[in-house]
């Protein structure tokens, strides 16, 4: 488990530890199911005459006095989404961990859902939520929050599920031995054990979420244009008005918001969660946060925190007993037979739903799509794949050496690591307009020069994971390699690259997943009336969205999901398993 490695926790790549490279039939079934849900929603949205909604609130204006309020609105949206994600995590992951039937569906679903381009969802969900709350701003808010939620929830749920499944056997036995109620067991054993992983994943999700909150505030679907008060809408208005000063203001504001989030929330929580690390020896290096130190030392706080503790203790003692029979008490033969029958029945139900979904997909797509559409989408997908591959390779070439250099020098690592994490959280799409201005002014080829925008925000994941890996590299191995006077090339090939590989793969996987997502906003850019397009699957989806062409949006999303899943299965998962098996250092 990543969080139990030495040094800083590293995000566990979702499901990379899993068995098998080829999709099993279950994966395929779940995939069909998810695609079917898209189709159903799209179908529903299509049926509704897309309402030309005028939002009740005042339109977004480029008045600097409004900017703080917009920033606040954006931040609130973010927090609403993280709350929903946490709720989702606790319910769904617990369900998956406790019920085998639920597990069979939920785990592959999470695996696939996290590969689906989040921004593609927006098209359906905006229309869906606007229709749900007609004429009110609330529908659009829900759509934005839902978009952020879909970018966060899956890996959080997966992390929590994995923790619940790997509760140490002796602690499980103690809990059963002393007959802790399920509620007490949750608070004393399961939640604390899962806390470091969940908190780290939540923080990573939140960092990634800023990108989506900016992207989801100003959306156009067919005739419907929604601009929610927020930094994203401010940016959209500024782009339309070609107001570079407003763009710069937005960048500064965003930087201030991220800085506050990083210092006031991210760091204190990571420092606090450190006490839940499952280890029996004290680690030399611990995460620090001045806010957390202040909190622990402060006078007021010393009165407040026992109160919070008391409240938490009350909650954990609520006589709730959602009844769950103790695990691992094996049942009699008859019970097992009944179990197996129930499993079969469950499988039949799942298969029936999958068949229904498949039928719907065929029906939906046959009406408006031809084989050539599919081929076009695949061709464009390959183009975007090429971009992602080249960019990740370039970013790796640049950041791996730098990350290793920094990671091997503790004084540099402690200074740079927070900066890298800050940059990873900074929504790169806020910077897009500047790049577009450059491209427009210099008349550069958009097919090439729009591409770097895809990794602008995601490359930092490579950097800070490599730094973490190099920091955790054992001193004795470094000393040994120094003594043997390995040549530079030898040292890279035999010593450091194998040593940081698990960390690098984690970072590169996150970066490439993020880049696929970013392609939807990065391959299409505008500055006032000037529109720039790079040919690719991202712009295909973006164009289809803007035109309200649901079948093509679904097609684009499905093709992109398939490509991301395939990449994960064929490249990242084998690499990760190789790294884990051969180069694990503990």
């Amino acid at each position: 488990m990543a969080m139990r490695r030495k040094g800083r926790p590293v995000a566990e790549p979702l499901g990379l530890g899993g068995e098998g490279l080829l999709p099993n039939p279950y994966d395929l079934a779940i995939f069909v199911l998810i695609a079917g849900v898209f189709v159903l929603i799209a179908h529903g949205a299509h049926e509704m005459a897309a309402p030309a909604v005028r939002l009740a609130s005042e339109p977004v204006t480029l008045d600097p006095a409004n900017l703080p309020e917009y920033a606040l609105r954006t931040t609130l949206r973010m927090f609403a989404a993280i709350l929903v994600s946490l709720l989702f995590t606790f319910v769904v992951a617990t369900l998956a961990a406790k019920s085998r039937k639920a597990e069979l569906v939920i785990v592959p679903a999470l695996d696939i859902l996290q590969s689906v381009p989040v921004l593609g969802f927006l098209t359906f969900t905006v229309v869906f939520f606007l229709r749900l709350f007609p004429g009110s701003e609330f529908g659009a808010e829900c759509a934005a929050i839902f978009a952020i939620f879909t970018s966060q929830a899956w890996n959080m749920a997966f992390s929590f599920y994995q923790s619940l499944r790997t509760v140490p056997r002796d602690l499980d036995e103690v809990s059963r031995h002393f007959q802790l109620s399920p509620w007490l067991r949750f608070w004393r054993l399961e939640a604390p054990f899962a806390a470091p992983g969940l908190i780290w994943n939540t923080m990573m999700s939140m960092s990634g979420g800023w990108f989506f909150v900016v992207a989801s505030e100003a959306i156009t679907v067919g005739d419907t244009t929604v601009k929610l008060p927020g930094i994203g809408s401010w940016l959209a208005v500024a782009i339309d008005a070609k107001d570079i000063h407003a763009v710069i203001l937005a960048v500064l504001m965003m930087a201030a918001v991220i800085l506050a989030y990083d210092q006031l929330l991210f760091r204190p929580i990571v420092a606090w969660a450190d006490k839940f690390r499952f280890e029996q020896t004290a680690a030399p290096q611990r995460p620090h946060s001045w806010v957390y130190d202040l909190w622990r030392r402060g006078k007021v706080v010393r009165r407040v925190s026992p109160a919070i503790g008391w409240m938490a203790a009350r909650i954990s003692k609520l006589p709730l007993g959602f009844t769950r029979p103790a695990r691992s008490v094996r049942r009699s033969g008859a019970g097992r037979l009944a179990d197996r029958l129930a499993d079969r029945l469950w499988l039949l139900v799942v298969l029936a739903v999958v068949a229904y979904a498949l039928w719907h997909i065929v029906l939906f797509t046959r009406a408006s799509l031809s084989t050539s559409d599919v081929l076009t989408a695949i061709g464009l997908g390959l183009l975007t794949l090429l971009r992602v591959a080249v960019l990740i390779a370039l970013a790796s070439l640049i950041w791996v050496p730098i990350g290793v250099w920094i990671g091997l020098r503790p004084w540099a690592a402690t200074r740079v690591q927070p900066v890298a994490q800050f940059l990873a959280a900074f929504p790169a799409n806020v910077l897009f307009p500047m790049a577009v201005v450059v491209i427009v002014t210099w008349r550069l080829n958009p097919d090439i020069w729009l591409s770097p925008l895809m990794v602008l925000g995601t490359q930092w994941y490579i950097l800070f994971n490599v730094i973490a890996g190099a920091s955790a590299f054992p001193t004795d191995l470094r000393e040994a390699s120094t003594l043997f006077r390995l040549r530079t090339w030898q040292w890279w090939r035999k010593v450091i690259v194998p040593g940081i590989l698990p960390y690098y793969v984690t970072g590169a996987l996150t970066a490439s997943g993020g880049s696929w997502n970013a392609s939807i906003v990065a391959e299409v850019a505008s500055w006032g009336d000037t529109k720039l397009r790079a040919a690719g699957l991202g712009s295909y989806i973006a164009d289809a969205s803007a035109a309200g062409d649901y079948p093509r949006v679904v097609l684009g999303i499905v093709v992109m999901s398939v490509m991301v899943v395939t990449c994960n299965r064929l490249v990242w998962r084998p690499l990760y398993r190789l790294a884990e098996r051969r180069f694990r250092l503990d």
Binding site: V174, H177, F178, R188, P192, F276, F278, Q280
Partner: protein, 433 residues
């Protein structure tokens, strides 16, 4: 009525089966009956894998027995019972709870109100010598202190029976001894709120030192082979001749060949499906050298050997038995005697040792001979490990098959009888030199 009063725990014809992938189930405990009376300490003594820990968990209600029944205080056990509390080998403390919170957890589950809970927890902490550490986290404590927390946590719920699962085996020698002595003092002074202790151990001296009765378990399947009352007065002295004699007798009992089995039959299974222990060739050579040298000169008394080597029976027995399997030594009556081949091995240089080891390996370890034959017969001299793994798994669990395959790989590599490539999982006759 009388038995219900005197016997606190009654284990009645318990059998424990683990389902295996294919075919018949693995028998872990075979027809075990025992009773634990008031005011006694009973040890379950046996080697790892003899099912003694499983038996303890069955008594604790953590897992059900496949057959037979367990009753505590006259009531059948159907789940975790109030009357027992357990101390774990790994301590099993919650790292995110303080010492005090860890001790309180059992009371919390019983919904004892917080003032009372606090009082009782502090009393237990005080009793076990942990005062001053109430607010410490487990990771700040040494192993001995952690096990004291485990003990306090078990005692605070006022159980009738204390179950201890190798409670001292994760501690260093000195710490373990201190903790044993403290526990015995508390016991003899009657300061612990318990009626009896059931101790699982693989340490013979520990069993003789602490218990009123010792139940010796055989392995594969676990079965009570002897019940030995220990009547030596407390506190006991390890150097007392009567103490030494008892330890010697138990060693002899545990190395006695089961009647009707052949010389090589110390390991379960026969032929290529024999379960091989994970003993490295270096360890074998080391033991051979030690036994060949002064003061043993080829003939060593196992208890005398175990002391200076700081090896417990779980470490020493598998090595000795592997030497016996390879015909480098004879094991009987608690003694280890080198064979001629064993003496020759010690005198040879590295290459000579490898050649001799190879001869014995291929001749006396059927699986090694089998792998070598398959490799010789094949044109490319290569065979996937999965092939042999499948053969093994017809007879043993996946885990044991894995261990056996790893052992034979390690021995084959030392003997240079065959090579193994971990990345591809293929055995071959390639010589990487």
């Amino acid at each position: 009525m009388n038995t219900a009063l005197s016997a606190l725990v009654e284990v009645d014809h318990v059998r424990q089966l683990y389902p295996k992938g294919s075919g018949e189930n693995l028998l872990v405990l075979d027809d075990v009956s025992l009773s634990l009376r008031k005011d006694e300490i009973v040890s379950l003594l046996g080697r790892s894998g003899c099912g003694k820990s499983s038996l303890l968990r069955i008594i604790a209600g953590l897992m059900p027995a496949s057959q037979g029944k367990v009753s505590i205080g006259g009531r059948d056990v159907a789940g975790p019972a109030q009357e027992v509390a357990m101390v774990f080998q790994t301590f099993a403390l919650f790292p995110w709870l303080t010492v005090l919170e860890n001790v309180e957890i059992g009371l919390e589950a019983l919904r004892v109100d917080s003032a009372e809970r606090h009082k009782r927890a502090l009393a237990a902490i005080d009793l076990i010598g942990l005062d001053g550490y109430e607010s410490a986290y487990p990771k700040e404590l040494s192993g001995g202190m952690r096990q004291r927390v485990g003990l306090a946590r078990a005692l605070v719920v006022h159980p009738k029976v204390l179950l201890m699962d190798e409670p001292f085996s994760a501690l260093d020698v000195l710490t373990a001894e201190t903790l044993r002595t403290d526990l015995l003092d508390l016991w003899s002074e009657g300061r612990m709120p318990i009626s009896s202790i059931l101790l699982v151990t693989h340490n013979i001296e520990e069993a003789v030192l602490m218990s009123d009765r010792i139940l010796v378990f055989s392995s594969n399947p676990g079965r009570v082979v002897a019940e030995i009352p220990v009547t030596l007065p407390m506190p006991r002295n390890r150097l007392d001749p009567a103490f030494r004699q008892m330890v010697d007798d138990i060693y002899a009992l545990m190395t006695a060949r089961p009647a009707g089995k052949q010389a090589q039959g110390v390991f379960p299974g026969a032929g290529i499906s024999m379960l091989l222990p994970g003993v490295s060739p270096n360890l074998m050579a080391g033991l051979l050298e030690t036994v060949a040298a002064e003061p043993y000169k080829g003939h060593a008394d196992l208890p005398a050997l175990a002391g200076p080597l700081h090896m417990e029976i779980d470490d020493l027995f598998p090595v000795a038995e592997t030497l016996q399997l390879l015909r480098f030594a004879e094991l009987a009556e608690g003694d280890l005697r080198l064979t001629d081949a064993g003496r020759r091995f010690v005198d040879l240089d590295q290459d000579g040792r490898k050649r001799l080891f190879a001869q014995h390996l291929l001749a006396y370890v059927p699986l090694a001979g089998h792998i070598r034959r398959v490799l010789d017969e094949r044109g490319a001299h290569r065979a996937p490990a999965s092939r042999f793994r499948d053969e093994l798994e017809d007879h043993m669990s996946e885990q044991f098959a894995d261990q056996t395959l790893r052992s034979v790989t390690s021995w084959g590599r030392y003997a240079e009888s065959f090579a193994y490539d971990e990345a591809t999982g293929v055995f071959s006759l390639d010589n990487p030199s």
